[in-house]
Amino acid sequence: MADKMMGKAMKRVEDPRFITGSGNYTDDMQMAGMVHAAMVRSPYAHAKIRGIRAEAALAVPGVLAVITGQEMKDAGVNGIPTGWLHPGIKLPPHYAITFDKVRHMGEIVAAVVAETRQIAEDAAALVEVDYEPLEAVTIGSKALEAGAPQLHAEAPGNLCFTWSIGNKDEVDALFAQAHKTVRLQIRNNRLVPSAMEPRASLAQYAKATGEFTLWTTSQNPHIHRLLIAAFILGIPEHKLRVIAPDVGGGFGSKIYQYPEEIIVLYAAKKLGRPVKWTARRSESFVTDSHGRDHETVAEMAVDEGGKITALRVDTVANMGAYLTTFAPAVPTYLYGTLLAGCYKTQKIYCHVTAPFTNTVPVDAYRGAGRPEATYLLERLADTMAHELGMDPAEFRRRNFIQPDEFPYQTPVALVYDSGNYEAALDKALEMAGYKALRQKQEELRKQGRYIGIGLASYLEACGLAPSALVGSLGAQAGQWESALVRVMPTGKVEVFTGTHSHGQGHETAFAQVVADELQVPVEDVVLIHGDTGRMPYGWGSYGSRSAPTGLSAIVMASRKIVDKAKRIAAHLLEAAPEDIEHADGQFRVKGVPDRSKSFFDIALMAHLAHNYPADLEPGLEATHFYDPKNFVFPFGTHIAVVEVDPQTGKVKLQSYTCVDDCGPLINPMIAEGQVHGGIAQGLGQALLEEAVYDESGSLVTANFLEYTLPRADDLVQINVGHTVTPCPHNPLGIKGIGEAGTIASTAAVANAVIDALRPFGVVHLDMPYTPEKVWRAIQAARRMPQAAD
C-alpha cells in the first residue's frame, strides 16, 4: 500500500483541464437552437414604473420575446424567498422581474430574448420604460430616520428586523464599574465579491417530459432546485435538474437564488429553446449580492488587570433592497455569536438593526459576519492595549481562553470545543520576529519612516451545525451533508458529494482522504459534484463547511464500505468478519497474512455475487448523511507589517505572517493556497475596496477601474505557519480553512495601518485606507491648514 495521502501536498487533479483551457464553465456551453437573454435594468435606485413599451425592441429582427414582471406574475411565477427567518422579520416580495417599482440600480424591469447576444443587448436598449424617479436612501442608518424614502409597504420605516444577544443590563453594570473603557465608531465598508467568472445561466426545457435543466454558476445546486421548484416556479422537484459545472470562484456570491436563473427557465419553456444569459461585469457589480456594510458603535470594558469584562455593540446592518438567501443570518448568528473571539469576556451585549435601502442586496461574502465581528473586536483590543500602555500581544495573551478550559461556554451562545490560542500567537510572533520588528519600528520612526505592526487573533465558527440548532435559530435549511461512495466492479471508486468545489480543490483533497480510508491508489478515486441529477441531496459549499461537514460524510460512507468489504472477505476467506483486518490495501485474516483478498477481489465479488454471503446485499456502495454535533472552531494569529508614506498617504504591505489552526491538514499546498487568497481578499477590504453609492443611489464604483481589487504588486510572499488542534467531534478532527485568511487579515492590516499612524495621533480610521484618506488623516492630525480644502 502506498503512503498515507492525507497530509501530502499532492498536485491537483483539477488543474490539467484549467491550464490547457479545457475547463467547462457555464458560458462555455453552446446548444443547438440556443438563444440569448439580455436584461433591461433600472438606471434609477428608486422609481415607480409607469409603463413599459416593447414595440421597438420586438421589431428588431431576431428578437423572440420581451418578458415583463407582470407577465411572469400572471403566469404564476412567485417571488424569491429568503432562507433564514427571525421573529418579526418583514418579508416584502422579491420578484425576478419587478413590475411596480424599482428599488436598486440594476434591478431587472424586463428581459429580451433573441437569436444572438448582440441582438438581445441591442434590443434591450430599445425597451422604453417610463419611470417616475423617487428619492433614494443608500445608508442603513439614514434609512431608519423619520422621513426617509420608504422602499416596501410591508416594512414600515424600512425596518426589516432587529436582533439582539446578551443581557444589556448586566453589560451596562460591568461598564459602570469598569477600570477603563474604549469606544469605536466603525463603518465596515461595503464590498463587491467579484469572483472572476461572471454569473451565467443556461436553461433548457423538454416539452415532451416537462423537464427543466438549469446549468448555472452555483455553490449549491440543490438549494437552487428546492427554491425554484417548491417556491418560485411551483414545479415538481424531480422535473428540475440543476447543474453547476466548473465555477470560477464564488466567495458567497454564488450561493443565492438570483432573478436571472428564474428568467432563463421561464423563457426556455415559453420559447421551447435553450436560453443563455451571461453577466457583463458591469451587471455583476449591480446584481451580485454585496458583502459587509455595517455601521457600528463598539465598546470594550476592562478591569484593573487588563482583563476584558464586557463588550457592548450596536450595529446597523444594511440589507439592501431585498433579502437574499441567507442575508438575515449574516449580521446576527454569524456575527453577534462571534464577539467573544478568543477571549474570556464575561458579558457581551449586541444589538442589530437591519434596514432596507436602495442598494444591491447584502448577503454572505467570504467570512460572512465573522470578519465584521473579528474586525471590531481586534480593533477594540488594539485600542484598549494602547490605552493601557500594554503591548497588543500581551493584552491578547492576558485575555485568551486557556487550553484546559474547553469545552468553553461563551456568553454569546457558542460552546467552543477546543483551542490553543496562545500557542498560535507565540508561533506567529516568533515567525514574524515581533520583538525585532518593534525595535525596527522605533528606529525607523526616528528617521521619519512609519511602519506599523498589526496583530489579529481570530476565532472562526464554521460548518454551521447541528441542523436542529440552526433550525431553531431560523434556518430554513438543514446543515448536514451527504455522500455516496460507489465502488465499481474493477475497484475504481466514484465519490458523490453534496458540496461544491469552485476553486477549493475538493477533487484532489477529498480523493486523498478516500484513498486512505479504502486503501486504494488515489488515482482510482474520482469526486463528482455539482449535479442534482447525480448526487444525493446536499446543501452545498459556504461557511467553510465542505471539509468538516461534507468530507466527514464521505469518510463515514467510506467506512461503511470497508465494513461491508470485511464481511465479503470473511466469507471468501472462511473466517469471522471480526477476524478480518484491513491493512496495506488488503483484507486479511488477522495473524495469517498470506490469507488475504485485495480491494479489487472484493469489489468484483460484490458485483458478481457468485460466492457471496447469503445474508448480504450485492454491490459495494454506501450513502451517509452526516449531521455534525457542533460547529468547528479554527483560530490563529496573523501579523501584518505595513509602511505608510506620510507624504503621499500610500500604504504598502511589507510582510505578512499567519499561523492558522484548522486541525490536521488534508493537503497543505491547497490549505495554504486558501489562506493566501483569503488574506488577499481581507487586505483588499482594508486597503482598496469599497462599494460607494452617490446620493441618488447610483453605484459609483461599478467596474474594476473604480472598484480596486488587489493586484499582484499589492501583495508580498506570505509567511504561512500552522498549529494543529484537532476538532474533537468529527472523524478526522478537521476544521474549515476557506475563510480564515479573510477573517483575520482585514483586522491585522487595519491594526497595522493605525499602528503606523499612531505617532501622528490618529487612533481610528474607517477602511479602506486609500492614500487620500490616510494623507488627510495625517494632515488633520498635524492640524495643517491644507488639511481642509
Binding site: R17, I19, T20, G248, R281, S282, G678, L709, D713
Partner: protein
Amino acid sequence: MAEKVKVRITVNGVEHTDEVEPRQLLVHYLRETLGLTGTHVGCDTSQCGACVVHVDGQAVKSCTMFTVQAEGSEVTTIEGLGEVGRLHPVQEGFWEMHGLQCGFCTPGMIMAAADLLNKNPHPTEAEIRHALEGNLCRCTGYHNIVRAVQYAAEKMAGRSPVGAAAQD
C-alpha cells in the same frame, strides 16, 4: 446591423476564413465562432486580463481588439500553448506550484506570464508582480502565481525546479 466582413486569421497554427461583424471583439470570435472557450471574459473594461492571448507573438487582451484588426495575424490561445504531456513551462509551473484555484483567470494569467518570460527570461519577483498587474486573480493572492512564473523561468533556463508537491 453592419455588413459582415471577411477575415483570414491563423489561430494555433490553423488558418481560418470567416465572415464577421466589424464590431465583433476578437475574444468573441475565438470563443463563439471557433469554440476556443479557454480564453475567458471576466470584465468589460479591459481590467481583468482573463482574455489575454498572443497576437503575432505579443500578449494582447483580446477584448481590446476587433476581430477584423487581427486580419492576417497569427493568434495563439491557451489551447495552442501546450497540452497535457507537452505542457509549456508556464503551464507546468502553474500546476506544480498551485498557481490556480478556480481556474478562470488562469489562461490569461498563463499567456501574460509566457509573454513576460519571452521578453525577460530571468525576471525578479518585483518584475513578475509588475508584469502581471493587468491580470486579476481573486483566489490565490498571487503568492503561488509568482512562484509558478519563477518555476517556469528556471525550467526555461534548462534547470530542474522543484514543485510545491515535491518540496513537501
